[in-house]
């Protein structure tokens, strides 16, 4: 869909597969899954069979040995279908890399092949009810007791948890050590005593993606499930991955804008009001020109960010900039687009309406945009 020097013919073949899978397996079920507020468990297995999970993981661990652009292709195709509410990227592009990059050999062998096949669905548990974006302030404790850690605490806003067999839990192994006291534990949820899956929270958008509360009361996790095997590395492991995660969020925001502008231009060209095409009203045309400009600027910016990322120069500030700027513009542009659809823009079966509700999360998730500005501001 997108012109990019990084896409090879192989990516385009993959894109066709992804598109087919989305159109056949997902779109027809959208309404049912939205009602259920989650996709069925077996959907993940199908996605694994279709090669949509963990395309970037090394073949050694059951992946397809792909690259960043395989993840982008999936995200682009989801966006085209206005079906971003399936958290593939969380499973494949956020969690799998933690294990592949920081895990012990044993952890990689245990989890990655099953994550790629869809036998294991994964979630990551960072946010807590009282702490929001403040990772250093988390209260969930992991107390060492013999060859186990004992987990106590509470998490919220956890995506994928309803189906997850594996939850990566951020916990304090040393409550007095601040950032240095945070570790990541790999919790196998089947049969985990003391673990309770809380409510599946109802959200403004992203209806299919489940979002849950989690409770840990004396949950025993074997020490070999400490990610990487060394305590106190969690905060740094999380931090290191943030630029890439934010790049993906920016990419998603940009593609959302582009899809929205395309849909709106098409609508404005076909819809007639007051005796002429909507697009022939000057005020409408100027709004469309503004939206198109923002989307074009954003695309140029995204490509530059990708270049920097490839050159290994996309740092924390760059990630923060990309994330806040694109998600803000995305919400503005889509709100303007929705307006041009009139009453249809408020109906859930119009893609623009779903986009509008879905993208609102972008300004909040992954660290609120205020946190991004703080991060940039401190480095000025």
């Amino acid at each position: 869909m997108i012109e990019s020097p990084y896409y090879t013919p192989e990516h385009e073949i993959f894109r066709a597969d992804v598109r087919r899978f989305l159109d056949r397996e997902c779109v027809p079920n959208r309404v049912a899954w939205q009602k259920a507020c989650k996709p069925p468990r077996e959907f993940w297995t199908k996605a694994g069979e279709a090669g949509l999970l963990c395309p970037k993981v090394s073949p050694e661990y059951g992946g397809a040995g792909g690259d960043l652009w395989h993840g982008f292709v999936i995200m682009e195709e989801q966006t085209r279908a206005a079906f971003n509410e399936l958290a593939f990227y969380l499973h494949s592009d956020i969690i799998a890399p933690y294990i592949e990059l920081y895990g012990t050999e044993d952890q990689k062998r245990r989890y990655l092949p099953k994550m790629a096949s869809g036998e294991i669905v994964s979630a990551i548990a960072m946010t807590e009810p009282g702490a929001g974006s403040d990772l250093q302030g988390i209260r969930t404790r992991a107390r060492r007791e013999g060859d186990h850690y004992v987990l106590d605490g509470q998490k919220t806003f956890i995506s994928n948890a309803q189906n997850a067999e594996l939850i990566v839990v951020a916990a304090k192994t040393d409550p007095d050590a601040g950032a240095r006291g945070v570790s990541l534990l790999l919790l196998d949820t089947p049969g985990a005593e003391g673990f309770t899956l809380g409510r599946n929270l109802k959200k403004v958008g992203n209806k299919v993606q489940d979002t849950s509360e989690l409770f840990f009361e004396g949950v025993r996790v074997p020490v070999e499930n400490l990610l990487g095997g060394v305590e106190g590395r969690g905060f740094y492991q999380l931090m290191q991955r943030l630029p890439e995660e934010r790049l993906i969020m920016a990419m998603s925001a940009v593609v959302q804008m582009e899809c929205a502008v395309d849909e709106t231009v098409a609508y404005a060209r076909s819809r007639e009001t007051f005796g002429r095409k909507l697009a022939d009203h000057q005020a409408v045309r100027h709004k469309l020109a503004e939206c198109k400009t923002v989307a074009t600027v954003a695309r140029a910016y995204l490509e530059r960010c990708i270049d920097l990322f490839v050159e290994n120069r996309f740092d924390a500030q760059a990630g923060a900039m990309a994330k806040w700027w694109t998600t803000e513009r995305c919400c503005e542009v889509i709100d303007e687009c929705l307006q041009l659809f009139g009453g249809y823009g408020y109906m859930r079966d119009t893609p623009i309406a779903r986009r509008w509700a879905d993208v609102r999360l972008g300004r909040i998730a992954g660290g609120t945009n205020e946190i991004m500005k703080d991060l940039i501001g401190r480095a000025l």
């Binding site: 702490a131 919220t156 979002t211 929705l338 408020y346």
Partner: protein, 386 residues
């Protein structure tokens, strides 16, 4: 609405001349919305509509059509009664039952243009909640462009025969009485459609909207529907466009009332939330950015209230013109959406969760920039009058 006793300088008390009877209605309404509606909001949202019984209950309490003549079951009230009801409904976070649609949009057509027989038949039923009202203007192909409507009313002997389709009709799935706009020979005309057992009339399923879930909205269809000539509102053909135009000023004024109540309620929720929640070791309200954003929102709401109240005062004196009503409509709904959006942001992740009122308010607000004439139409109206 004597709000914010805690911060008197920030939100000057209303300058509107509320009397004791308005305050009594406010108390009744507040109890009704808070205890009999708000607890059911989630269930009603799931159902996509409210149970009929709640309308009867609202009727019993005197919340329906308080402005109409006591002879027809009303209380002879004024615009301030309508404002009181709307403010309390919004403050309680309740979008349906759509009392203002029923009271302030539909009933006035009968009061203003109905014959004695039409009034005597419909108004008492509306005041008790026996009949739910709706108004059907918009069509799939025309949107805000009323002159482009295609629904026809063909005269056939003593009857009119109606064919056509309407969409985005609030109460479309439930209304007993629909004020219908259709093209008759002499031009756009309004008809009173009693839906019960009406041959050729059908309704679509409630539309799946992005917010206001419990407020049912549907398409309605007329396939050679036969109405008696007495269904013509006011008894004269071709007056519809003018009648709709006359009513729009008041409708847009009420949109401003809703928008204002949304802003103030959203800010109240958010001040409370940011005072209570902590992040990075301090209360959210203690961050300068939060404080500035809330200071802006509070100021914008205060400014908007003064404009609203000026419009209300002018309206009650018969001096509010179409241009000023259009200003109020676009400006207040724009501010509403901006403020509610900023309030969502200050809630962080909770702002995206439907169990927090601010999340539903965000979804409920968006349509305000579209309905009652899209905001672009408002700017056209103002621009042409310059």
């Amino acid at each position: 609405m004597n709000t914010h006793p805690s911060a008197p300088g920030l939100s000057p008390a209303t300058s509107l001349p509320f009397r004791d009877d308005h305050e009594m209605l406010r108390q009744t309404a507040r109890r009704f919305f808070e205890t009999e509606c708000a607890p059911h909001r989630e269930a009603w949202d799931e159902a996509g509509m409210v149970p009929r019984a709640i309308w009867r209950r609202a009727g019993e309490l005197g919340l329906l059509c308080p402005r109409i003549d006591p002879a027809y079951g009303g209380a002879g009230g004024d615009l301030l009664h309508a404002i009181v009801l709307t403010e309390e409904q919004v403050k309680a976070g309740v979008v349906a039952p759509m009392i203002s649609l029923h009271n302030d949009v539909v009933a006035p057509y009968l009061v203003a243009y109905g014959s004695e027989a039409q009034k005597a038949r419909a108004l008492p039923r509306m005041a008790t909640g026996e009949w739910l009202g709706a108004i059907a203007m918009t069509e799939p192909s025309a949107g805000s462009d009323l002159r482009g409507m295609k629904t026809r009313a063909r005269r056939d002997g003593d009857d009119y025969v109606i064919s056509g389709q309407k969409t985005f009709i609030s109460h479309g799935a439930t209304a007993d009485l629909i004020v219908l706009a259709a093209q008759a020979e002499a031009g756009i005309s309004l008809f009173l459609v009693e839906t019960d057992g009406l041959a050729g009339f059908s309704r679509g399923a409630p539309l799946d909207k992005m917010g206001q879930f419990s407020a049912d909205t549907a398409e309605i269809f007329f396939d050679e529907v036969r109405l008696p000539a007495s269904a013509l509102l006011g008894g004269e053909e071709g007056r519809g466009f003018a009648q709709l135009g006359e009513r729009l000023v008041e409708e847009r004024l009420m949109t401003g009332v809703v928008a204002q109540a949304f802003m103030e309620t959203a800010i109240d929720h958010t001040v409370a939330y940011t005072r209570e929640r902590k992040a990075f070791g301090q209360r959210i309200i203690d961050f300068q950015n939060s404080r500035f954003r809330l200071a802006e929102a509070r100021t914008e709401a205060v400014v908007c209230r003064t404009f609203l109240e000026r419009c209300v005062t002018k309206f009650m004196a018969g001096r509010l013109d179409a241009s000023e009503a259009a200003m109020l409509k676009w400006w207040s709904t724009e501010q509403q959406n901006r403020i509610v959006d900023a309030c969502v942001q200050l809630h962080g992740g909770y702002g995206y969760m439907l169990e927090y009122p601010i999340a539903r308010m965000w979804l409920d607000s968006r349509v305000a920039k579209i309905y009652g004439g899209a905001n672009e139409i408002m700017k056209d109206i103002i621009g042409r009058a310059l």
